[in-house]
């Protein structure tokens, strides 16, 4: 029986009837497990499109992540892949049976026990009774629910239902596994267990589609990903890039909604005319590498003589994390009377910042550091690039070593 492959009108196979399909060898193995072209979904009675013009392919054996805010269309996409609903526009092709964990408790009858529900799931997937019982045994072992496995599901907590659901879905050994945001319900131990099982499923050649707010899980488990925003694909590509782009936007939005807003402030005794970034050779740039020298030049003018103003240049990450903020008062430098136009240079040698987007603040305060003559808060953006994968905010010089210790 072929996978679902139709332009609209869409006619997937009846849910619940077994459609287990073995992946073909040879050139057919290169066929995408999931192919989506111009996919769109609009629910009846709604003007808005839940998904619009979505196009991507997931080769067999690949893991594909789906990230985005609530309401971005992640669940709708997984519903379409599972066959729970039909596209309104575009094409969708899913080659093979799917095992899905889309909603906590979906498909479970609370009057039945965990065992009975597992057998039922196997029967629905097209297994014979012996196969369904074998599935139930595997699920029982994985779920680690103890005696509860033989009690009605209505006695389960949400975490236990998730254990049962994941155990059943993982035990079905379907060629395509769909998981939608339910892993977070489980405890840390079982979440880890689920991730390990998903890695195993992936290593066995199954195709995995994971929609999750756990961006670390998406980066760890997925080869590629799509970032959905208001139903459209904002970015499709390698999972680390897609997640990185999404994280950056989240950070910017968080920063914009909390804390001090970027902008110009001050009493006006100092006027900041210009701010530029230069490298060690004096070249003006907007992007620097980790470890390079960064020189911030500030052209400023006083409107009256000022006695030892405190001058400072601070660096923030674009989500508002305060990285570092030196000033002349702390350094006990640049004291004197200032009356006229000047160029302040703050040089950061061997820049330890890791790759990302940053913003510089420039401020001039009175001698006692009480009120600001001029303060341009996070108004000067620049970028840092790193030459290798590193995690965190700054590069700290470090060294690993192991020595044997006698017990």
């Amino acid at each position: 029986m072929p996978g679902r492959a139709d332009a609209t009108p869409f006619a997937p196979p009846e849910p619940g009837l077994g459609t287990r399909r073995q992946p073909e060898a040879g050139p057919a193995a290169m066929v995408a497990a999931i192919a989506v072209e111009g996919l769109g979904k609009r629910y009846p009675g709604s003007e808005a499109w839940a998904l619009r013009e979505l196009t991507f392919e997931v080769p067999r054996g690949e893991s594909f992540g789906v990230v985005g805010e609530n309401g971005s269309g992640k669940s709708t996409l997984l519903d379409l892949l599972m066959g729970a609903t039909r596209p309104t526009a575009g094409r969708l092709r899913v080659e093979g049976a799917t095992a899905s964990l889309l909603e906590l408790g979906a498909g479970f009858f609370v009057e039945l026990t965990g065992w009975q529900n597992a057998v039922h799931a196997g029967l629905l997937a097209g297994l014979d009774p012996a196969g369904a019982r074998s599935l139930a045994r595997a699920a029982e072992e994985f779920a680690e629910l103890g005696d509860f496995f033989h009690r009605p599901v209505r006695t389960y907590s949400a975490g236990m239902i998730m254990r049962l659901g994941f155990a059943v879905a993982a035990s079905l050994a379907a060629p395509i596994v769909l998981v939608d945001e339910v892993l977070a319900v489980g405890d840390a131990y079982f979440q880890r267990k689920c991730v390990d099982r998903l890695l195993k499923i992936r290593s066995e050649g199954a195709t995995l589609v994971l929609a999750s707010h756990d961006l670390h899980a998406v980066k760890s488990l997925c080869d590629r990903a799509v970032w959905l925003e208001r139903g459209r694909a904002k970015v499709v590509g390698p999972a680390s890039e897609v997640v990185g782009a999404y994280e950056e936007q989240v950070r910017r939005r968080t920063a914009a909604e909390s804390g001090l807003a970027a902008g110009r402030r001050g009493t006006g005794e100092v006027v900041i005319r210009d701010v530029r970034f230069r490298d060690a050779a004096g070249q003006e740039r907007a992007e620097f590498a980790t470890g390079e020298s960064l020189r911030v030049e500030v052209l400023f003018e006083t409107t009256r003589p000022l006695e030892s103003p405190v001058m400072g240049v601070a660096v923030f990450r674009d989500d508002g994390v305060y990285c570092y903020g030196p000033n002349s008062r702390l350094d006990r430098r640049l004291e004197g009377t200032y009356d006229g136009c000047y160029l302040l240079a703050a040089e950061f040698e061997d820049l330890p910042l890791l790759a990302g987007a940053y913003e510089a603040s420039v401020a001039f305060y009175d001698r006692e550091h009480v009120y600001a003559y001029a303060w341009d808060h996070r108004m000067y953006p620049f970028r840092v690039v790193s030459d290798g994968p590193e995690h965190g905010l700054v590069r700290l010089r470090h060294r690993f070593q192991v020595t044997r210790v006698e017990r």
Partner: protein, 259 residues
């Protein structure tokens, strides 16, 4: 002949679990499945035996049996059809699961039919104890009626499930329609009390034929059950299933999206 769908194997445990769940926690438990119809038959016997004497061929108790043998299957039909119309909104999780609507409808209808079967068993018991029971073909016909009604309401339920989701007005409309059915079927009155033209009109009501089958093992007045009644009931059941499947196929995606 194609293999039965996998979901049919789950029906038995689901129906049993549902029946257990209905009486879970009560002291008498499953005995209520028998006590309920027993009390109903007793109530009819008291009302029609002592309080209201209907002008029929029956004595009071006979009339009680006559009414009970019609009202209990009708109640099961109402429970199955009305419940099916509310099934999908009550089980929204189905939208994101591989469980087919057919399973939910079949379970619901079978549970209703099981209760009808138990109720009829009580009526038969009362009939035999009072010397108004008939053995033989009558029992087979009554059993056939139970099966045919279960099949028919399954078909109606398949259509009612998506329709009730898309058109919520259907649910109260069904209640009214099924109430009308009580009077448009020979449940409360024997057919021989009606004019020939109305008797002829009743022939178009499939439930009339089912009622004759249900009353076949009872020594109560009314039109005798014939092979034609079986044929009409079977045809109606088959038509209901075919129409139900067709409507379900046509409406299920829209109904799922509406959930």
């Amino acid at each position: 002949m194609s293999r039965a769908p996998g979901w049919t194997r789950s029906l038995g445990p689901l129906v049993l679990a549902d029946l257990r769940q209905r009486y879970a926690g009560s002291a008498l438990g499953g005995a209520w499945a028998f006590l309920g119809p027993l009390v109903e038959v007793a109530a009819y016997a008291v009302v029609f035996g002592f309080l209201v004497r209907p002008h029929t061929d029956h004595d009071g108790f006979g009339y009680a049996l006559f009414v009970a043998s019609g009202i209990l299957p009708w109640a099961a039909l109402r429970e199955a059809v009305e419940g099916s119309a509310s099934l999908l909104p009550a089980h929204r999780w189905i939208r994101r699961s591989p469980v087919p609507v057919d399973l939910l409808v079949a379970r619901h209808c079978l549970v209703a039919s099981s209760r009808a079967a138990i109720g009829l068993l009580v009526v038969l018991l009362a009939a035999f104890l009072s010397g108004r029971g008939r053995t033989g073909a009558g029992l087979v016909l009554a059993a056939a009626a139970l099966v045919l009604q279960a099949v028919a309401v399954f078909g109606v339920g398949l259509a009612a499930a998506p329709l009730g989701t898309l058109y919520p007005d259907l649910r109260p409309a069904l209640t009214s329609a099924l109430t009308v059915l009580v009077f448009a079927s020979p449940i409360l009155y024997p057919e021989n009390m009606l004019s020939p033209s109305i008797q002829a009109a009743l022939e178009w009501n499939p439930f009339t034929h089912l009622l004759r089958l249900y009353r076949a093992p009872l020594a109560v007045s009314g039109a005798a059950a014939t092979g034609l009644d079986v044929a009409v009931a079977a045809a109606a059941a088959a038509a209901a299933v075919a129409a139900g499947h067709a409507l379900k196929a046509r409406l299920r995606w829209t109904a799922r999206d509406r959930l």
